[in-house]
């Protein structure tokens, strides 16, 4: 390090060096790799007063199916050690409601919007994809095949390789928008699922969704969630998510958006080193809405401190030769 500093060349380079933060997810360019996780950022507009959305890599909205969804009864979330369990039940306005209520705001953003979509049948997924393709101006579609909180839909597609590849192929046919498949963590090994999504035509993977979990109030003897079980998220799942990203990255060539408990730039860098091209902040938004921007600032500092010129140099850079 010291000897390098004595060399005048790197110093000059240092002063003028621009760090490239932009990454590519399928056909979608992100000005930086930091985005947010579906369901933890509403439809963007709710946070517009607290942070400048145009500084993000992309905005990701809450899961949308064809028609409006009422969602589960309450309580819908419960706090646990270093985490949260939720069973929202994918409440949402449906495609039309979304377009009417939220799209006018989102389409004016300078950064792409990723729309998280779901359905209860392969046909519904494809139809929702087609509707957003028609809409124009959407950044990418994220196929939620891994929501643990809905009986008919979501998770079963993410834990069955054949269904998964059917859903992805059907959406692939319905749209030319970049497709991101949001993977379920609840599998013996993620590799075959990752490959199924890639082969089905997915442009990227989002790893990972929440873990099936449960909590009981011992005084009332009732589950703490009206839905009985829910999905575990937050810092508590980070070590599991890192492992899944690492394994998925070894299995496929398409980029991965890493998520699960990211609270700061060190967490984000850990995901990138494990193999993620981009990262998403989820549960942390709920307690610190500035998290994504803090992650971005910390990431920039880290690259500069390490003398790196391109954020992509971090991707998959973990050194795993056994000693």
């Amino acid at each position: 390090m010291k000897s390098e500093a004595r060399n005048p060349k790197p110093e000059v380079a240092n002063a003028t060096r621009e760090v490239n933060l932009s990454v590519q997810i399928g056909g979608m360019r992100m000005q930086n790799p930091v985005t947010v996780a579906s369901g933890t950022f509403g439809y963007g507009v709710e946070y517009a007063q607290l942070l400048d959305l145009n500084q993000l890599g992309a905005v990701v909205v809450k899961g949308i199916r064809l028609g409006p969804v009422r969602g589960n009864p309450t309580p819908r979330t419960v706090e646990v050690a270093s985490g949260l369990i939720n069973a929202i039940g994918l409440q949402g306005p449906g495609v039309d409601g979304f377009i009417k209520k939220y799209w006018p705001f989102l389409k004016e953003l300078k950064v792409p919007t990723i729309i998280n979509i779901w359905g209860t049948t392969v046909e519904e997924y494809a139809e929702v994809a087609r509707r957003f393709d028609e809409l124009g101006g959407v950044g990418a579609l994220e196929l939620n095949v891994s929501c643990p909180n809905i009986k008919e839909g979501g998770a079963q597609f993410g834990t069955d390789c054949k269904l998964l590849s059917q859903v992805v192929s059907a959406c692939r046919k319905a749209t030319r928008l970049p497709l991101i498949t949001k993977m379920s963590p609840n599998v013996v090994s993620i590799a075959p699922y990752a490959k199924a999504a890639e082969e089905g035509g997915s442009d990227a993977l989002a790893v990972t969704n929440s873990y099936p979990a449960m909590a009981i109030d011992i005084e009332t003897r009732r589950p703490r969630l009206a839905n009985i079980t829910g999905g575990l998220t937050g810092p508590c799942i980070k070590p599991i998510a890192i492992k899944l990203v690492w394994e998925a990255a070894k299995a496929v060539k398409i980029p991965i958006i890493g998520m699960g408990g990211i609270q700061n730039s060190a967490d984000a860098i850990e995901f990138m080193m494990a193999g993620a091209t981009a990262v998403a902040v989820g549960t942390a938004n709920f307690y610190e809405p500035q998290t994504a921007l803090q992650v971005l600032a910390g990431l920039r500092d880290f690259l500069q401190r390490q003398g790196l010129t391109d954020v992509r140099q971090l991707v998959g850079s973990v050194r795993v030769e056994k000693v």
């Binding site: 369901g39 933890t40 709710e46 607290l50 309450t74 309580p75 270093s82 709920f286 307690y287």
Partner: protein, 266 residues
């Protein structure tokens, strides 16, 4: 762009003292949030020493004085207990003011009847202070220590009727008893405003219907984000042909009692 209606800021504790029993009053320096507060709104506080418990805790804003606001809280669990041990000059992080508060009765409008149970009294003070019309506050609690800011309401010139379940202070019974008695004396030009535990709100809602008086209720649902993104805090709201879930942190916490689809609540 419109001026901000909510902001995030690091707030410094000015004082944090026990009021009665398990209740504490916290005053913080908050130059950006304090001036924006409307009655019935809340602040979402990050209690920084809470580490493995991640979420913010919501508290109604009790009083606003200059660039400070205060809350009145009960130490009921890990967050509030840690909070009660924090000291002047310690920092908290706050997002606020949040939510859709009470409609302040216009000058010459309805005469306000406030109904408050437990820490619900906190949410009512600002309404009483900013209402051009004085009215009656019905405050109720289990025991004497649950009656919180009676004198403060009196100092504003309000008529205060206290009840306790054990009779240790004021009338013995539920807060709805003197309310019913008062409404029997007359309902014209009167409007109810209530904040407290859900069973109390439900009772007030029924009374409002029975006496055909308007009522605004501040609903107490568990919250997570506090700003409308997570959909944790929903309650069923009538839509004419049915009901839909709306967010107490955003569309509420204050709702017109006639809109609440009580039949769909647990």
């Amino acid at each position: 762009m419109l001026p901000p209606t909510m902001v995030e800021e690091s707030v410094r504790i000015i004082s944090n003292e026990r009021a009665t029993d398990l209740y504490f009053r916290l005053v913080v320096q908050s130059p950006r949030i304090a001036p924006l507060v409307q009655p019935g709104q809340f602040a979402h506080l990050r209690i920084l020493p809470l580490r493995e418990a991640l979420l913010r805790r919501p508290f109604s804003i009790f009083r606003v004085e200059g660039y400070t606001f205060s809350i009145l809280y009960k130490a009921v669990g890990k967050g509030t207990e840690l909070l009660s041990r924090m000291r002047p000059d310690d920092e908290l992080n706050a997002i606020g003011p949040l939510g859709h508060g009470f409609t302040v009765p216009p000058a010459g409008g309805e005469m306000p009847l406030l109904v408050a149970g437990g820490y619900g009294m906190a949410a009512m003070y600002l309404l009483a202070q900013r209402s051009p019309q004085r009215g009656i506050v019905f405050v109720g609690g289990r025991r004497r220590v649950d009656i919180l800011c009676e004198d403060e309401f009196r100092a504003l010139g309000w008529d205060v009727r206290a009840t306790t379940e054990d009779g240790s202070h004021g009338e013995k019974g539920l807060v709805t008893q003197p309310l019913i008695a008062e409404l029997k004396r007359g309902t014209a030009g009167r409007k109810l405003f209530a904040c407290g535990p859900t069973p109390m709100l439900k009772a007030v809602s029924r009374i409002a219907e029975e006496f055909n008086v308007p009522a605004e209720l501040s609903m107490d649902e568990h919250m997570c984000c506090g700003v409308g993104v997570c959909l944790t805090c929903v309650i069923p709201i009538s839509t004419g042909d049915g009901w839909e879930y709306q967010r107490t942190c955003t569309e509420g916490p204050v709702f017109d009692s006639r809109l609440i689809a009580w039949e769909a609540t647990a």
